[in-house]
Amino acid sequence: MNIPENLKYTKDHEWIKVDGDEAYVGITDYAQNELGDVVFVEIETEGEKLDKEEVFGTVEAVKTVSDIFMPISGEVEEVNPKLEDTPEIVNKDPYGEGWLIKVKISDKSELDDLLEASKYKELTE
């Protein structure tokens, strides 16, 4: 299971990669593997300000529909445009090409509540 050291994680299996006041958010390798083939990603919150732990979209695998939650409060600035036609990138490259949204962070202190890679790894074992 791939769990990069430089990211932070939620117990709901999202990851966040902080870059200044912005961050990329996606689902973890563990999550994509549990879901199986991702066939549809629906995110219609672009431009919205959402609170931490609010639902920002859904990931649909063949048999399941899963809500995805904001790891931190902020504005959804961008949705990965490649998801529309190639949702399978979430399976192939969950931490890279398969990112879901770019967020403008409201309160960076919330990052302290997120899990380090080692803690998240314990959750998946």
């Binding site: 066939v39 629906e42 048999k63 399978e88």
Partner: protein, 363 residues
């Protein structure tokens, strides 16, 4: 929880295992889409040993079948099988199943795993004739080999003439060196293929040899996930989703298994005859999404004004069409192919079109 005799094969192959109908079953190995396409373009092998098999024997066997089954079992011949259902006495369906005729005093019926106990009780309860019943579910395994290269794969392992077997024919022969294998030209995928009923102890050896024989055709093990997407594309009903104790076979569009013959009295015959004369008010249809979205079981079906007119019974993203596809019950006025319906998916109401089933047919 029960295991099939092939559980260690599934674990070796890295399958994701889930509980289904009281069994640990493989839901997927390499991924649902990958497995689905293997069956559409090459060949796939399924372990469906969770299915139930009952033997019905003796001079009263046919009488029992004619009473409980909607189809006309007197039309069977040795080596022939057919699809049918058990009407429940209240206009609904106890289960859908297959009947195989060995000879006029020996039949095998194959029922859904989730219904084994219910069906066993039902057969026994209805058996006022004194037919001999035997539940062989725990000693028989079932593998399905499906896809354009299914026949070529199995031909390497048997001298039986598979090419001349028409759908729903079966023979008992030697395969992969194991005798008494029931080779049945049936399946649940919409592809040409076979189902093999074998003794539990023979299952792992046969599985292994089929995997070897199919290697040159890219054979893949296929889990329950792709079994569902394949049968949905093929327009085949799943008990518990599309048919159940509350749906009539006429509503479900499986009226071709309901045979009203003067010489055949069966449970619900009068009720279903009346329903046939008067017409049903709702029917099961297949549909494809015209907007981006995936229909799922229990989602609402609406008309253009937003009124709820039915419910989705099965749905998925079709791996072949790359569109959401599904089945559901709608009023008869919406059953013509081309009828516009709407599916409520979370906060949205998305357009869908009723189509002739199967939603996908090989050209």
């Amino acid at each position: 929880m029960k295991d099939t005799p092939l559980i260690s094969k599934h674990r070796e192959l890295g399958a994701k295992i889930v509980e289904f109908a009281g069994f640990n079953m493989p839901i997927e190995y390499t991924g649902v889409n990958d497995e689905h396409m293997a069956v559409r373009e090459g060949v796939g092998i399924f372990d469906v040993s969770h299915m139930g098999e009952f033997w019905i024997k003796g001079p009263q066997a046919l009488n029992l079948l004619q009473k409980v089954s909607a189809n006309d079992a007197s039309r069977l011949k040795p080596g022939k099988a057919h699809y049918t259902c058990l009407p429940n006495g209240k206009g609904g369906i106890v289960d859908d199943f297959l009947i195989y005729q060995y000879d006029d005093q020996l039949y095998m019926v194959v029922v859904n795993a989730a219904n084994i106990e219910k069906d066993w009780n039902w057969f026994n309860q209805q058996n006022t004739f004194g037919a001999e019943l035997e539940d062989a579910s725990d000693r028989m395994s079932l593998m399905a080999i499906q896809g354009p290269y299914a026949q070529a794969t199995l031909e390497k392992l048997t001298d039986e003439d598979l090419a001349s077997m028409k759908p729903f024919r079966f023979k008992v022969g030697t395969l992969a060196g194991y005798d008494q294998v029931i080779i049945s030209a049936t399946g649940y995928t919409g592809e040409h293929g076979f189902e093999l009923y074998v003794k539990n102890e023979d299952a792992p050896g046969i599985w292994e040899q089929i995997m070897q024989a199919g290697k040159q055709y890219g054979i893949k093990p296929v889990g329950l996930g792709a079994r569902d997407t394949l049968r949905l594309e093929a327009g085949l009903c799943l008990y518990g989703n599309d048919i159940d104790e509350t749906t009539s076979p006429l509503e479900a569009g499986i009226d071709f298994v309901v045979k009203f013959k003067e010489y055949k009295d069966f449970i619900d015959k009068d009720y279903l005859w009346k329903q046939k004369q008067e017409g049903v008010s709702r029917k099961l249809v297949g549909f494809v999404m015209e907007e981006k979205g995936i229909p799922r079981q229990h989602y609402e079906i609406a008309d253009a004004d937003g009124n709820v007119i039915g419910q989705v019974t099965s749905g998925t993203m079709s791996p072949v069409l790359k569109q959401g596809v599904g089945m559901g019950y709608v009023p008869v006025s919406y059953t013509q192919p081309g009828s516009q319906i709407f599916i409520r998916i979370r906060k949205k109401v998305l357009k869908a079109k009723v189509v002739q089933m199967p939603v996908f047919k090989k050209s």
